[in-house]
Amino acid sequence: MALNIAVCVKRVPAPGAKINVTADEQSVDAAHLGFTTSPHEECAVEAAVQLTEEHGGEVTVLTLGPGEAEEQLRYAASVGAHHFTLIPTDGTAWDPQRTAAALTQAITNSEAAGSPFDLVLFGNESADSGGFQVGVRVAHALGRPMVNGIKGIDVADNGFTARREIDAGFEVYEVPSPAVLGVKEGINLPRYPTMKGRLASKKAVVDTAEIDAAAGGQGKVRLHRPAEQASTTEVLGDSVEAVGAVVDILEELGVLS
């Protein structure tokens, strides 16, 4: 049975050593930063592409964000996804309820125009705001089963077998199709785009879906960095001569016994 799979991905900045906040304290200062797909979702795209490679079918990637988020959709095209929908915002961050309502609408519209999704994938949590809920809300609105934290997906008789990591191993869930799953990084190793993929990404058609939704009850006041512990680094040396001092420290810490 060929699979029709949707994946919701978010465009996020990729900060280096430090996250800086803009002067109005409303967002991450991304003036000198690149952007990327939130890591769990990059793995969700890879999982969807692998499932359709094995079972046939197509992958639709949706994102809600500024127009520039087209970059993340084209990246998904370069690694094997087929259809792309951008739900444009004015660039401000939407709260989780508003985001979920708009994504639900976009999925519903897409299913009405094409065919229903057997599986809708999310990341376990978005890398920036980390609300741990958009996928759960969308699944509930669609009346579909949802399990988060998934590190393995297999096609089963009437749906999917999903594995979730716990301390001592993993839990197994048997969810009927159509299903919604939240994926965690580590489920796979996302591929890099090939030359052919890069060409496909240039040709990919990105649909724009103008959808708005009511604001929810969580409001952002400001962003700020946690207080940093002041630290001084003791440099033990700049050659193998330093290893005596290193092992002295290991001894002091009692980790050598």
């Binding site: 001592a168 006041v221 946690p226």
Partner: protein
């Protein structure tokens, strides 16, 4: 007038995080001026009511239903949402573990209310039903967000390890109330059906020593010298995301925001620049030793100790020195 705290357990064994839940919920209930009620789900959880009582719960609700044979996010969420309505809860809380956040998201979706995950501080204000002010984490803890929460029932989780679990000064009344939620049998679709237990040794999360390598290690084979040092120290090997992305190590070795949070006695970070997403996973380490060719690397400036040099020379020399001293 109640605050409802959702306690997690695995087939009758209370989760360590639930002691944190009781601790934070006691303080929140005091701030709100309400009673603290706890909820446990599934027949095998009834035996845990005493622990909830000891933790300060005035009432312990135990949900029993044929669907609640094991953990299931939808069934747990639906049962808690129903209970929140029937006891007139002003707020529902849990600890922001995978399960805690998942269950509260299910509760919030079902009640069509906001849910604020991973708070570090909550100010309930005048307790007149108005908005709360709170601080929550973004970017896995690298950034804080001051936020408001406006809802008739406030649904919030505290970040896991945001507060330290402490025993209650005095137990609660601990009245046990068993109830049967009106669960749709179809919610069994997301109940755990099986478990696979993997062999358990020292894990990255609990190891006393972690020896990590980053892009500077250069290859999969390059990790042999880290494996040796870790073995010598009874520790485990960790890595950065650059390493997992290259396929040099499995993702279970990754330290950071989307990997594992570690808290060893000493973290030896070699060839790792110390990006903020790596740092949030490593910052709970008691001591950090950075080995890096770049004296300006963030990992070096944030470490307690540093050796500026090529890890391919320094790491084997440390192993050798340990062996020499051991004779």
């Amino acid at each position: 007038m109640t605050l409802l705290a959702v306690l997690d357990h695995d087939r009758g064994k209370l989760a360590e995080a639930s002691l944190e839940t009781l601790t934070s919920a006691r303080a929140l209930a005091a701030q709100m001026g309400t009673d603290l009620h706890a909820v446990l789900l599934g027949a095998d959880a009834e035996a845990l009511a005493g622990q909830a009582e000891a933790g300060g719960a005035a009432v312990v609700h135990v949900a029993q239903h044929e669907v609640l044979v094991d953990y299931g996010p939808e069934a747990w969420g639906a049962a808690v949402a129903e209970l929140a309505g029937s006891v007139g809860a002003l707020a529902v809380t849990a600890t922001g573990t995978d399960r805690g956040n998942e269950v509260l998201a299910q509760v919030a979706a079902r009640m069509d209310l906001p849910f604020v995950a991973n708070c570090t501080e909550i100010n309930t204000g005048a307790n007149d039903g108005g908005a709360w002010s709170l601080t929550r984490t973004q970017w896995g803890g690298s950034l804080l967000e001051d936020a408001t929460l406006d809802a008739p029932v406030k649904i919030v989780s505290y970040g896991h390890h945001a507060i330290e679990a402490a025993p209650a000064d005095e137990p609660g009344a601990g009245e046990v109330r068993t109830f049967t939620p009106a669960l749709d049998g179809s919610l069994a679709r997301t109940v755990v059906t099986d478990r696979v237990v993997l062999s358990q040794g020292v894990t990255l999360a609990t190891a006393p020593v972690v020896v990590s390598g980053g892009r500077g290690v250069g290859s999969e084979e390059g990790f042999a010298i880290l494996d040796e040092l870790a073995a010598e120290l009874g520790g485990v090997v960790g890595c950065s995301r650059a390493v997992t992305n290259n396929g040099w190590r499995p993702h279970k070795d990754q330290v950071g925001q989307t990997g594992t949070r570690i808290a060893p006695e000493i973290y030896i970070a070699t060839g790792i620049s110390g990006a903020i997403q790596h740092w949030v996973g490593a910052m709970a380490s008691k001591k950090i030793l950075a080995i890096n060719t770049d004296p300006e690397a963030n990992m070096v400036s944030k470490a307690d100790y540093a050796v500026i040099g090529d890890l391919h020379e320094i790491v084997p020399a440390i192993t050798e020195e340990i062996r020499r001293r051991r004779g």
